[in-house]
């Protein structure tokens, strides 16, 4: 009688089990060796923790003084972060959540999972900002970015853009934080006229992408004249690529702000360390890292000032920002309005 398939499976399974317990053993040894140093788990979005983001330098900087280790766990972007915090609930391993924006903080506060900040650090944001649960670490103005060598008649306002035949790529407000930012930008600037603006913008929109990177990639490929991004985007091209052809258009209605914040989870067992990390994040060393890694303005400009290349950027006169509670309240209605206007 030959052996049957289940027998084969069992043998393989035994072999795998051995390999697995060996691996588990090694893991235990490894974690055992680290048991003396406490670990701080920071949940953040992918591009923050990636090799090219601020994550590695901030980890190294904080570890140099905290006698601890920092571990990042990641989710796609700010919205994905909040969803993950909600999925994990009070059982979350994370101590600090870094990378929500002010359009999400009302929902984040409502979860009841965040603990009050130990101290409010000074900031030089363009609008007054204070939140008992969330500390800002960087910020930027949303803006339409274009190529100076290709677009000569640059619209000076959302309304002028809508009236022009300039082609733009935007992000979906249902899946991307810049997309949601534009939605609130139009709402904050035009209130009841928002639907009208969207109807006028409809023929300018080449396409709506799921996230920022697809939109920006398509813009660089020449699919549109302008793309929804940040006023700081041209700084990347200038500093990292020595390319000064990109610029952000200044709009007369003002520009909507994205303020990125961090908070600590109430269920964290490393509360003191989390407070120390947030203090480090708001301090000079970390704030100096952010501009050229996250390509945003630091919440508190470091004593050394902003890097060269940030000086020549467009600085809008008017900054728009809806209070967190209002942003949360108008979101569903604004999305429906946007969908109706663009579905015609």
């Amino acid at each position: 009688m030959e052996f049957s398939i289940p027998d084969l499976f069992r043998r393989n399974l035994e072999k795998n089990m051995k390999a697995f317990s060996l691996a588990a053993g090694l893991l235990t040894i490894a974690t055992g060796a680290l048991a003396d140093t406490p670990n701080l788990t920071v949940m953040t979005y992918e591009s923050f923790a990636s090799e090219w983001g601020p994550g590695p330098q901030i980890k190294a900087g904080f570890e140099a003084s905290c006698a601890c280790t920092v571990t990042y766990v990641t989710a796609g972007d700010g919205a994905a972060l909040l969803a993950r915090v909600q999925l994990e609930g009070a059982a979350s391993e994370a101590d600090v959540v870094l990378g929500l924006d002010t359009n999400l903080t009302a929902a984040a506060t409502a979860t009841g999972l965040f603990a009050p900040l130990a101290a409010a650090l000074p900031n030089d944001l363009p609008v007054p900002f204070a939140d008992p649960l969330f500390q800002p670490f960087d910020w930027g103005w949303f803006a339409f970015v274009y190529d100076k060598t290709k677009l000569t008649l640059v619209p000076g306002s959302l309304e002028a853009l809508a009236a022009s035949d300039v082609k733009i790529i935007i992000q979906d407000p249902r899946s991307s934080t810049p997309g949601l930012g534009l939605l609130l930008w139009v709402k904050a600037a035009y209130g009841p006229r928002a639907a009208e603006i969207w109807t006028a913008l409809a023929d300018n929109i080449v396409t709506v992408t799921p996230g920022w990177s697809e939109a920006y990639g398509m813009f660089l490929e020449g699919e549109a004249d302008m793309v929804l991004s940040y006023t700081t985007s041209p700084a990347y091209h200038l500093i990292a690529e020595q390319d000064d052809t990109k610029a952000a258009a200044a709009f007369s209605e003002g520009h909507y702000l994205q303020i990125e914040v961090a908070g600590k989870l109430a269920a964290s067992d490393q509360g003191v360390l989390a407070d120390a990390f947030l203090a480090y994040l708001g301090g000079d060393a970390a704030q100096a890292i952010l501009p050229t890694t996250n390509w945003m303005y630091p919440a508190k400009t470091a004593t050394a000032g902003l890097p060269e290349g940030f000086g020549g950027l467009v600085r809008p006169q008017v900054s728009l920002l809806m209070p967190a509670a209002e942003a949360e309240a108008v979101r569903a209605e604004a999305i429906a309005e946007w969908q109706t206007a663009l579905s015609r």
Binding site: S4, E46, S50, A80, V206
Partner: protein
């Protein structure tokens, strides 16, 4: 027992699949607080059906003449062309979309040529763009599946037909049409279901919120509204559509009933004259449509090679490892199910097609999280999910051949007393080697290109190649991303071709 070679293995596999697909949806549903669909969900449902239907029909309508031309013509480079035909289906969707844009986009050669001729520019965005991208991605699969159908018609039947002096239309009616009747409904269903859960293509090329799919609504429900009830409801709607379509195809497909041949290579009569030119034109057109975006991806990628980050090497190892493991897992599971004659085996194998990857990932996350940090399980979970999502294709490839095999060789095997592993080795595997190799290659390549659940489970290490592409794009490094994308595409093809070649060699031996 000979009727059901490995009943226990099949039952365990089917139960596992049901747990992974329906079970994870139930876990998500169990956390729901409110149960309601949004009004926009109905518009999304309509658009989903509309685009998936068009994509399936157009893909198959184009695939039939291409498969026929490939089946009956012999020319230099034919084998290479068949291999290359597989390429688009294996591409990561984001890379494929960028390739299509490079060709058909505003600055692409098509519009440059139109402008030179004084014609208005063509916009790729809208329903037609979605369908074009889906045809690009899925037509090759349709061609391969239909071509296999042609090759499965025993050579003796064509010889007999010729000996009887059958005209070409008569030959089509008696030999090729019954094969198409048996094969095409399955192909339509597979492509419809692939497009049913399409997300990135629709969102990127759809041109706005007009083009919204159920999968996008699920994404929105999970990500922005954290509305688990709505996500689970939408997943159920998606399942229901998938089930209805799959059942309808079972009812439409008829067995071809050619009986056993001697397993000789088919030589299908190839008419000359104008039809020779027509076949040539069909093949050229297909090659043009399929190759141009690939070439664009290649050119962009080579330019990015200079900026390849060091992280590409470990990511490469991880991606290949996951791909090989999930290909093995998917192939074993599909073989076990395809050999089972029970109806539930087919149903279990079709389940993952209509499954929302997002709901599957979220369900697993909810299951794993209380016990272990999810990022520690990123690799095994990705393996499992990728194997699950690839399984329906493998099953579809294996099943018709397994049915044929049973019809043709079951009595013979039984009369010889062949059973169990001996029968598997001497009868089953050699006859199924070609689809097994093709299927394993497909599973490996799909796993390579899929961003999948790793994004949900990721920590600060353990990036795979698609994840790295996404990270680079998120950090403005589009050129480096194009370089990594090319590495990814090349490795996917290499894995696929290696498996396909092994299968073909074993079958030919």
């Amino acid at each position: 027992m000979a009727n059901r070679p490995f009943p226990l293995a099949a039952a365990v596999t089917a139960a596992g699949l049901a747990l992974l697909t329906l079970g994870t949806a139930a876990v998500v549903a169990s956390r729901a607080q409110v149960w309601a669909l949004a009004p926009a969900d109905w518009a999304a449902l309509r658009f989903t059906l509309w685009q998936a239907g068009w994509s399936a029909v157009v893909s198959v309508v184009f695939a039939i003449p291409v498969a026929r031309a490939l089946a009956r013509r012999r020319f230099r480079g034919r084998a290479a062309m068949i291999r290359l035909m597989g390429a688009p289906f294996l591409m990561p969707v984001v890379v494929a979309v960028l390739g299509i844009l490079a060709v058909f986009g505003r600055a692409g050669p098509v519009n440059v040529a139109l402008a030179a001729l004084g014609l208005p520019a063509l916009s790729i965005f809208g329903l037609h763009g979605v369908v074009l991208a889906h045809v690009f991605l899925n037509m090759p699969l349709a061609v391969r599946m239909i071509l296999m159908g042609w090759q499965a018609i025993p050579a003796e039947r064509f010889r007999l037909a010729r000996a009887l002096g059958l005209s070409e239309p008569a030959m089509f009616r008696h030999l090729e049409w019954p094969m198409l009747r048996a094969v095409v409904p399955g192909v339509l269903v597979v492509i419809f279901l692939v497009c049913l859960t399409s997300f990135a293509v629709v969102l990127t090329l759809g041109g706005g919120p007009r083009a919204s799919t159920i999968e996008l609504s699920i994404y929105q429900a999970l990500r922005f509204d954290f509305d688990l009830g709505r996500a689970a409801l939408l997943a159920a709607v998606q399942f229901a559509i998938g089930a209805v379509v799959a059942l309808a195809s079972g009812w439409l497909a008829l067995p071809s009933g050619f009986g056993a041949g001697l397993g000789r290579a088919s030589v299908i009569p190839a008419p000359g004259g104008i039809r020779r030119w027509a076949d040539g034109a069909v093949l050229m057109l297909a090659a043009g449509l399929l190759m141009a975006p690939l070439v664009a991806v290649g050119l962009r990628g080579i330019a990015g090679f200079a900026d390849l980050p060091a992280a590409v090497w470990p990511a490469m190892g991880r991606s290949v490892g996951i791909a090989l493991a999930s290909a093995l897992l998917a192939t074993l599971a599909a073989l076990v199910l395809a050999l089972s004659r029970a109806a539930w085996a087919g149903m279990a194998a079709t389940l993952p097609l209509a499954t929302s990857g997002l709901v599957l990932g979220t369900g697993l996350f909810l299951l794993v999280h209380p016990w272990l940090p999810p990022e520690r399980l990123a690799v095994p979970v990705t393996m499992l999910v990728n194997a699950t999502l690839a399984l329906p294709y493998l099953y579809r490839l294996l099943r018709p051949e397994a049915v044929q095999l049973h019809a043709d060789y079951d009595r013979l095997s039984r009369s010889l007393g062949l059973a169990g592993v001996a029968r598997l080795r001497w009868v089953t595997l050699p006859r199924l080697a070609r689809p097994l190799g093709f299927g394993a290659g497909l599973a490996a390549a799909l796993s390579m290109g899929d961003l999948g659940v790793i994004a949900l489970f990721a920590g600060d290490q353990g990036a795979t190649l698609p994840f790295l592409v996404q990270q680079l794009m998120g950090a403005y490094r589009m050129e480096a991303a194009a370089g990594v994308a090319l590495v990814l595409v090349t490795l996917s093809f290499a894995l696929f071709w290696a498996f396909d070649w092994i299968g073909g060699r074993y079958a030919g031996a």
